[in-house]
Symmetry: C2
Subunit: 120 residues, 2 copies
């Protein structure tokens, strides 16, 4: 259940704006505020079944967008490379060889800053 | 007109799979194969007006997706940072200081490879 919540939350970050306001309200309570279906039902004055049905529908909609566009997978792969890159840059930053030369140290610092920006 | 073609082509790379097959055929002839509306009309045996109307509609659909999701803008910004990063890494790679230390040179090479992968 937690895995499903995380998966829906991740896809929602990408494609959430294509959902209706009602669907968005329910996903946000479920994924971001960690409400149970029962709590969402009370909060929004709708039946527990309606919450369940909406979440099923939302999951299918979001998965369908990802199946067609694959942008979440693409961004996730890219982010993994950038994180690996950041780890290497951090090693360079603390290297005595790099620190011994102000020009090289400055270039490494610039690479570090740019890597951070990509990850923002 | 060329700018519009490039813009539609870029958005099509991101959101094209959300169009119908008929819309996709027309966009591909227009943006990728550089056909005129007249040529597309002959190729697909539809009226020139139908080609024009479809392209108008497609432009609006693709722009609406981008307005809601902003993934093309996000990706383009990220790519610009990574390109700037690559330029800095290429400077490092040819630096005598870096080349003088095999461990540092290897780390820089690894950063270079990862940067290339992000750009793929």
């Amino acid at each position: 259940m937690i895995e499903k919540k995380v998966k829906i939350g991740n896809l929602y970050d990408f494609y959430g704006e294509l959902l209706t306001d009602k669907q968005k309200d329910i996903v946000e309570l479920f994924c971001l505020q960690d409400f149970t279906f029962g709590e969402i039902s009370e909060e929004l004055s709708v039946s527990r079944q309606a919450v369940f049905d909406t979440m099923k529908r939302v999951e299918s909609i979001l998965e369908n967008y990802e199946k067609k566009l694959g942008l979440y997978a693409k961004f996730t792969q890219s982010k993994a490379y950038v994180k690996a890159l950041l780890a290497e840059v951090e090693t360079l930053r603390t290297s005595d060889v790099v620190q011994s030369d102000p020009t090289v140290a400055e270039t490494v610092e610039s690479i570090f800053q740019l890597t951070q920006k990509v990850l923002e």
